[in-house]
């Protein structure tokens, strides 16, 4: 079965002054920011329902 992404080559790099980041690392950083924003904004299932304990 062929891989979805061909990883058998060197990663591309994004450079800005002294900052140099590989494209895979940039993708992961962007993904983390997206998940972080989604975690704050997305409604939690059952919100408004009493969760017990010290509500």
């Amino acid at each position: 079965m062929a891989a979805i992404f061909n990883l058998n080559h060197h990663a591309g790099y994004l450079s800005w002054h002294f900052i140099s980041l590989s494209v895979p690392n940039v993708i992961v950083i962007i993904l983390m920011l997206v998940v972080f924003a989604a975690a704050i904004l997305a409604p939690f299932p059952g919100t408004g329902r009493k969760t017990g304990g010290h509500s």
Partner: protein
């Protein structure tokens, strides 16, 4: 209870442990309502990734490099171990961001913040020693590149990335023990101090505490109601 048993160190330790973490706090059956948010799940996701890491790593350690490089089942567990560490750091960074913006060191929780931060710092060399213990060209490339970084900060004589035996010992024993110990302390501190409340909730509680009578029953989710002591 006899006088001798009262002086026993085991009795003293038990009393201190139960006072610090009574059973209902150690294993609670409910959480504050503000915990019903996705941002609060990244701690337990990091913990779940760590469990997956330890389980897959234990299997790899039992079977050895030939197995994980040549058999399909070995490839599977090797990949599981890799993706567990990817997810561990992914979730841990989001957990860190969330707690930073919540100022999670409030209410006497500075030890929680410290153990979390140190865990992150210890996890980095734990992962690095894993990458150089793969027993392939990737490991050789990483170790020869990273040794220059170690030499430049003066630790190359003690932490030799090209020494497989030393790196493997660090990776499967010393650093995992440190990470698990720190994470255990972190989780116990969460149980002791409670999950940090959102900033606006704490401000409201501070106003309520200031306006209510001294002996009144104010809302409380933590030993000190989440108000900085």
């Amino acid at each position: 209870m006899s006088v001798s048993s009262e002086k026993s160190w085991t009795v003293a330790l038990r009393k201190r442990a139960v006072a610090a973490l009574p059973p209902e706090k150690l294993l609670p059956d409910g959480q504050p309502s503000y915990v019903a948010s996705w941002i609060y799940v990244f701690g337990v996701l990091s913990l779940s990734s760590l469990v997956a890491l330890i389980l897959t790593g234990s299997i790899l350690a039992l079977k050895g490099p030939t197995w994980w490089h040549t058999s399909s089942v070995g490839h599977f567990f090797n990949s599981m171990h890799l993706w567990s560490v990817e997810l561990f750091f992914f979730f841990m960074v989001i957990h860190l961001w969330g707690k930073y913006w919540m100022a999670a060191w409030r209410g006497g929780r500075y030890k929680l913040w410290l153990t979390g931060g140190i865990t992150f710092l210890v996890a980095v060399p734990c992962a690095l020693t894993g990458y150089v213990s793969q027993q392939n060209f990737d490991a050789q490339w990483i170790s020869t590149q990273a040794k220059d970084a170690m030499n430049s900060v003066g630790v190359g004589a003690f932490f030799n990335l090209t020494n497989f035996g030393q790196m493997y010992s660090y990776h499967v024993l010393l650093l995992p023990i440190a990470v698990v110990g720190l994470v255990s302390a972190h989780v116990l501190l969460v149980r002791r101090h409670g999950v940090v409340p959102p900033l606006e909730l704490e401000q409201r509680k501070a106003v309520l505490a200031a306006t209510s009578s001294p002996g009144g029953d104010g809302p409380s989710d933590t030993p000190n109601g989440g108000v900085p002591s």
